[in-house]
């Protein structure tokens, strides 16, 4: 019941729209079925599954908008939800920046749904946990991990005739393996739309191997180092590049309060801001990272180039700001793609005279929005490289660095791989700034 077909969803949305008496009405319907398993100390700690469906109705009178939601999809509940949205709209304060709902749009196709992922069973979830636990236990180590998956649909329609529908599947896997003496820790992270691409055994092995390698780390002096940042350091929940993308808001730039502001007014679109080997774009139809081709207000997500050969091409324009500036609105990307080369991570290591390999970064926080300066720490696998080889594990360090400075100090790019819905290569960066040492493992 939770995953409705395009036809069934459209029927419900049309039913709601037909009951509306507002000047404009927009309705969205979404549902999901999800499951997870969490494990720690080599045992499953929690597991669960859930299903939900929700209808949301937004009614508009002039600049006043009201939104009501319901989990019940019978005729009476839908009618009550429509009435409540209208009631809320009449009472709502005016928002002078409110935009009319969108006219009908054309959307790209993107293969986001995979039957195999939709069919993941509780037994499969337990097996994923077992792979990590069993491998860690066999080496006297301790595994803690989380695996979750979901199947969802979303549909949107409005009184102007717009209609959009998407059905998608996805999974996320993270695993931290620690050595029992507490001196080593390794990490693995994967996400896919299609579970047949997921290799729980091999992916769990990555964390175990890194934990083994990272035992008994040595301290080195903080300072400026050449680093190789793996994709998890760039675009995971704690990544330097996604933090940069989040700050690419056109309005903040035009208002003079962003790195992307131009001195004297306006923004930096058209300016070279990073090394010319850097090209960053987004494409929801990319087969490796397929995503919904519209954002929740119905704005189409299309291929968008953000940085081309080091030159800033675009910023995020919401519909209001785009209307003020007379430009096309730009949807928030589902993920980013950074062009790379064919070089593997091993190739990057082999070509490094002296440097540090960073598995992931942690607790990244903005320090200065003016320069996009961020701080954070390395975590779960930090290694010293000399003469093309990993020599030994080193203690974690705190960095203070701006992704803009970092991308200007680019030394080499590797082969892009999927992480957190994005496709990014490992990067070798010169003069990455570490400011202190951490005892944390």
């Amino acid at each position: 019941m939770s995953i409705l077909s395009k036809e069934d969803a459209q029927k419900i949305l049309n039913r709601a729209l037909s009951l509306s008496q507002a000047e404009e009405c927009e309705v969205s319907l979404s549902g999901n079925i999800s499951g997870y398993v969490r494990y720690a100390r080599n045992t499953i700690t929690t597991s669960g599954a859930g299903a939900d469906v929700s209808l949301s109705v937004s009614a508009k009178f002039g600049k006043r908008t009201g939104t009501a939601t319901t989990n019940e999809l019978d005729d009476a509940s839908i009618a009550q939800c429509v009435r409540r949205a209208e009631e809320l709209a009449r009472l709502a304060p005016e928002n002078p920046e409110a935009m009319p709902f969108l006219e009908p749009q054309t959307y790209l196709d993107s293969p986001t749904y995979f039957e195999a992922t939709a069919n993941i069973s509780p037994e499969y979830r337990a097996q994923v946990a077992y792979e990590g636990i069993q491998q860690a236990e066999s080496k006297g180590m301790i595994a803690a991990g989380f695996f979750e998956h979901s199947t969802n649909f979303s549909a949107l329609a409005n009184s102007k005739g717009l209609f959009a529908y998407n059905k998608a599947t996805g999974l996320e896997f993270t695993l931290t393996v620690r050595t029992s003496d507490g001196t080593g820790s390794g990490y693995a992270v994967k996400d896919y739309n299609d579970v047949t691409k997921f290799r729980p055994k091999e992916d769990s092995e990555i964390a175990v191997r890194k934990a083994e390698l990272s035992r008994n780390p040595r301290a080195i002096e903080p300072g400026k180092y050449t680093v190789i940042l793996e994709p998890a350091a760039l675009v995971s929940d704690e990544g330097l590049l996604n933090n940069m993308i989040f700050s690419m808001n056109a309005r903040a730039a035009d208002e003079g309060r962003s790195f992307f502001s131009k001195k004297g007014g306006g923004n930096k679109i058209g300016e070279k801001i990073v090394d010319e080997r850097i090209t960053i774009y987004s494409d929801p139809t990319h087969p490796e990272i397929p995503a919904r081709t519209w954002q929740s207000d119905g704005l189409p997500r299309e291929k968008t180039v953000w940085i081309q050969n080091g030159v800033l091409q675009n910023l995020l324009y919401d519909r209001y700001w785009a209307s003020q500036k007379g430009v096309k609105p730009v949807a928030f990307p589902s993920g980013i793609i950074v062009d790379g080369t064919s070089a593997t991570l091993e190739d990057l290591i082999r070509d490094t005279k002296k440097g540090i390999l960073v598995t992931r970064l942690w607790y990244i926080r903005s320090v200065d929005p003016q320069t996009l300066l961020y701080t954070g720490l390395t975590r779960d696998g930090t290694f010293y490289i000399e003469n093309g080889k990993i020599q030994y594990a080193i203690k974690n360090m705190r960095f203070n660095e701006s992704p803009i400075i970092m991308l200007n100090n680019l030394d080499a790019l590797g082969r892009p791989e999927r992480l957190n819905g994005s496709l990014v290569p490992p990067m070798r960066i010169r003069d990455f700034t570490f400011t202190s040492l951490s005892e944390a493992v």
């Binding site: 997870y36 720690a40 100390r41 499953i44 700690t45 597991s47 669960g48 859930g50 939900d52 929700s54 949301s56 908008t65 939104t67 009501a68 939601t69 989990n71 409540r84 009631e87 009472l91 709502a92 304060p93 005016e94 928002n95 002078p96 920046e97 409110a98 935009m99 301790i142 803690a144 989380f146 993270t174 620690r178 808001n249 903040a252 208002e255 003079g256 309060r257 502001s261 519909r319 209001y320 942690w362 607790y363 990244i364 903005s366 200065d368 320069t371 701080t375 720490l377 975590r379 705190r398 203070n400 701006s402 803009i404 400075i405 400011t435 202190s436 040492l437 005892e439 944390a440 493992v441």
Partner: protein, 546 residues
Amino acid sequence: MDRRDFLQLAMLGAGAMLLPLPAFAKAVSETELITPVLDVADKKRLADVALNTAKSRGASYCDVRIGRYLRQSLFTREHKVQGVQNTESFGVGIRVIANGTWGFAATNRVTVDGIKHAAETAVAIAKANSKFQKEPVRLAPAQALGEVSWKTPIEQNAFEVSIKEKIDLLLSVNDAALKNGASFVSSSLFLVNEQKYFASTDGSYIDQDVHRIWPTFNVTVVDKQTGKFQSRSELAAPMGMGYEYLSARPEGKFQLPEGVVGYGKYYDMIEDATLAAKQVREKLKAKSVEPGKYDLVLDPSHLWLTIHESVGHPLELDRVLGYEANYAGTSFATLDKWRSKSFNYGSPIVTLFADKTQPYSLGAVGYDDEGVKTKRWDLVKDGILVNYQAIRDQVHILGESESHGCCYADSWSSIQFQRMPNVSLVPGQTKLSVADLIAGVEKGIYIVGDGSYSIDQQRYNFQFTGQLFYEIKNGKIVGMLKDVAYQSNTQEFWNSCVAICDESDYRLGGSFFDGKGQPGQISAVSHGSSTTRFNRVNVINTARNI
């Protein structure tokens, strides 16, 4: 972690900015927010359905939480209202022990049938999971409390104040900032009301009505000539209070050096925004800090976050044991350090206590989410690590037989687990004002307000910034500084604590959206302190030229 970053992001984004709806929540009207849906007798009747069903299916223990979680959020910028959102989430969470293993199920069908089915599911899950169980759950005894109730001691329910009145206040705040030189200002108000009914097979039926409020703003000044900008957010804390918090009563004000005003039990949001605009203008012209060692004088509006990150989180027992290893991390404060009874967490004047009863705090409740009466206990006593934060199935690890009463779930649909209680620093025992404290500092920085924060996954190495920084030379403040961040190590930092102002300076700070767990849950927590001095802390300069 905190959701401030998300909020800052949200506030920069234009248009009607609304928070994503929590799971199973629905948008409701103002009237619905203040209309009760079930009386206590109905709740007890429904709770008994869960308890009886679970027992008849073979559970050795069951608790049930019937929860109605109400939230209201209002967003404005300059002279515009950007969004108003009311949500209600109503349902039942049932937790059982069967075959020595936990099982949990939740439903938004608050009916006899819905609850019966969820109780059966919870028992079935417990039995299924018991196959993988390595060690049966050991639950510390809890007192049978009978039928009891608790309510946040509010004067005025903020949900009963009209949206118009709240919007008018926020727009006045914005107006005050703009009139005093702000280029941009955004302000928001978040309200929470948790109506929670708890019952367990131990014989407790607990009805609670919990209120929290968070007023927040951000003032930015752009210098068009230089292309530079600076900003400041509010110096007040989110509180466990009603709308009276925003009454600006003078007894809530703390007059601090350099015309800075701090806030305690009452908040004057318009005054704070007025001062913010003036201070941000000054900050644009402030001197960039010379890096080096400084004695830091930290205001409670700043120190709360350092306490939260470097004391609150590392002393969560589940972290110490490794249950959070894959997400938030583990802890440097290992059991052997605690067992030694001689681990110097801080200097001898440092006593840090946990307290779920502190009035007006975000964490204050009468009973936690597993029916344990709340209390106060020491974590660090006279500098020595003496305890952790633990709940019913954990305290046996510490050789204790009574839970600390700090179990919490952010929704009826989330499973309850150990969450941070309010953790605070005991004020100095001898009379000491902020001015006297500063007068004793030769080379230092006075820091007010919380800013950027980052700490490693075992809570050793941290870096913090703030909102306002004043340079202290030979006992006097000589001007404002900018680009200040300090880095230290938890044990080193707390051992460099040399002076704490007395109780008259004591104030709370806090986080409305502290995150933990997978799937993630939020919670609200306060941290109290008086202004405190830390000697010779490493300060770095965060300015960069691009």
